[in-house]
């Protein structure tokens, strides 16, 4: 039986979909069979990030409504044998599926795959409820911004209410800005969210470029962000991970500032 992990954040635009694509590709590279589910029904874009948009015939709502089998809707990745995508529908509403139906679907997929990674939509409404319904674990993605942390905190509370164990990925850390004192550090984010840290991902232009190319960066593994995603994937898979040497001491520099009141 595989593990179902939902990637969520509350706030939009913090890198949920990018994290889903990169962690999925990373886990597949480590030899796991992985399926990515785009739960953002009506606003699908995981397929774009994966570069698979032109192969979509059926989608998750088709599967849930019984219009096709899950096998038919799954799209195999271009480069990795054991990586699949179950795309969202672009035309349906978020409430066209129920949490119960998602639960059933994810349970079936867990029988086949080692990892079921669910890309959660922004917000805490129906789409969020659907996305977390079948999840065994959650990864909250937060950027070192007060607005992102505020929303993440809310989502962590909701996940705790659903008894879903949650860990944290801090995305888009800019070491220079942290050094200058213009950005919250990774340590600051962990301190307020009080979650176990899976890893921090530095701000990296390469991520934007790879997203636009439709090819998750972690597969190449050259840029700093790609390495960070790969390291997080190893950690998810339960492999030994070296200390986070590439992030440098600057990341953890204590600022000693009041987080909630600081003008970040």
């Amino acid at each position: 039986m595989g593990r179902a992990i939902v990637i969520t954040s509350g706030k939009g635009g913090v890198g949920k979909t990018t994290a889903t694509a990169n962690l999925g590709a990373g886990l597949a590279q480590l030899g796991n069979s992985v399926v990515l589910i785009d739960a953002d029904i009506g606003l699908r874009n995981l397929d774009v990030v994966m570069g698979l948009e032109n192969r979509i015939v059926f989608h998750v709502v088709d599967v849930i409504m019984g219009r096709c089998s899950a096998q038919k809707a799954l799209i195999k990745d271009r480069r990795q044998e054991n990586l699949y995508l179950l795309p969202a529908s672009q035309t349906d509403e978020k409430d066209s599926v129920t949490p119960e139906q998602m639960k059933t679907l994810i349970f079936e997929l867990k029988n086949v795959f080692d990892f079921v990674i669910i890309d959660c939509p922004a917000g805490i409404e129906q789409g969020f409820k659907n996305a977390v319904a079948g999840a065994d674990e959650a990864i909250v993605v937060a950027t070192p911004e007060v607005s992102s942390i505020r929303d993440a905190d809310r989502v962590v509370g909701l996940l705790a209410a659903n008894s879903i164990p949650t860990s944290l990925v801090v995305n888009r850390i800019s070491p220079h800005m942290v050094k200058r004192g213009d950005m919250l550090s990774q340590a600051d984010v962990i301190e307020i969210l009080a979650l176990e840290l899976l890893g921090g991902v530095p701000l990296d232009e390469e991520i934007v470029a790879s997203t636009n190319r439709g090819m998750p960066a972690s597969v190449n593994g050259r840029s700093a962000a790609a390495k960070a995603f790969m390291m997080i994937a190893r950690r998810i898979a339960g492999l030994e991970v070296e200390a986070e040497r590439q992030t440098g001491a600057g990341f953890f520099a204590k600022l000693g500032r009041a987080l909630g009141l600081s003008p970040a």
Binding site: I192, A194, R257, L261
Partner: protein, 254 residues
């Protein structure tokens, strides 16, 4: 003339004084016995008001009679009450005989004292399903004693305590904690805290007091713009119209 609802009261009214002066939640009332004569009413009222002349001056008074005042009685009553500085605001039947919509002024029943700690109204008032009902462990102490909760209290959570509230852990920005008593946060207070809800005196203590806003009673204080780095344990209390925050020095400064 309508009969009174119970024979005993009817008998009492007939045998008792012609008027009865009483204060009610709605104000001062002169209850007039249903079959008293104009003179009896007037004499009885003068006799009663003479006991403490001037005491009722400036008050509005309602005439309560089960039935109709005898002819001329109202004029007599107005003359007498005016002499003592009172004004007749209303003439009507006793409340229990008034028509239903008026008579049914609901007096909210006082809440029954909780039978166990489980009944203490610490309510998760958030409209969402409460994000954190599980890790909060109430201690088995008296129902007016402090309520001890394990944090962190996260954004979007509202906690209401009937007495004092103790939080072990942080109160994050976006969370709101309210207590009728005092609030003690053994962690960072970064959300909104309201102590002495419905009262005036109270304090808010935190190991790091960095709130968005604190309220004590009806007084509100919000965080300043400046960083409050380095401050240790602090305590906020209300003095009159302002909230004072000072370094905690081992005692409550009020």
């Amino acid at each position: 003339m309508l009969p009174l609802s119970t024979p005993s009261e009817s008998a009492e009214a007939a045998a008792g004084p012609a008027i009865l002066l009483r204060g009610t939640s709605a104000g001062l009332e002169i209850v007039v016995a249903p079959d008293a004569s104009v003179d009896a009413i007037g004499d009885a009222l003068i006799a009663r008001l003479e006991q403490s002349p001037g005491f009722f001056a400036g008050n509005d008074v309602s005439i309560r009679i089960d039935g109709r005042l005898p002819t001329g009685a109202l004029a007599r009553l107005e003359a007498i009450t005016a002499r003592y500085g009172m004004r007749i605001a209303e003439v009507g039947p006793p409340p229990r005989l008034r028509p239903q919509p008026v008579a049914a002024e609901p007096v909210p029943a006082p809440p029954a004292p909780p039978e166990s700690i489980d009944d203490v109204p610490v309510i998760e008032a958030a409209p969402e399903p409460d994000p954190e009902p599980q890790p909060l462990h109430p201690l088995p102490i008296g129902w007016e004693g402090p309520r001890v909760l394990i944090g962190p209290v996260r954004s979007g959570v509202t906690l209401d305590a009937a007495g004092d509230l103790v939080i072990l852990g942080d109160v994050n920005p976006g969370a709101e904690i309210n207590a009728r008593g005092n609030i003690i946060v053994l962690g960072r207070l970064r959300g909104v805290a309201h102590a002495a809800v419905g009262g005036e005196r109270g304090f808010i203590f935190a190991l790091r007091l960095e709130p968005q806003q604190i309220r004590i009673g009806k007084t509100v204080a919000r965080a300043g713009e400046a960083d409050r780095a380095g401050a240790g344990a602090e305590i906020a209390h209300a003095t009159g119209k302002t909230i004072v925050v000072e370094r905690y020095q081992g005692k409550v400064p009020i």
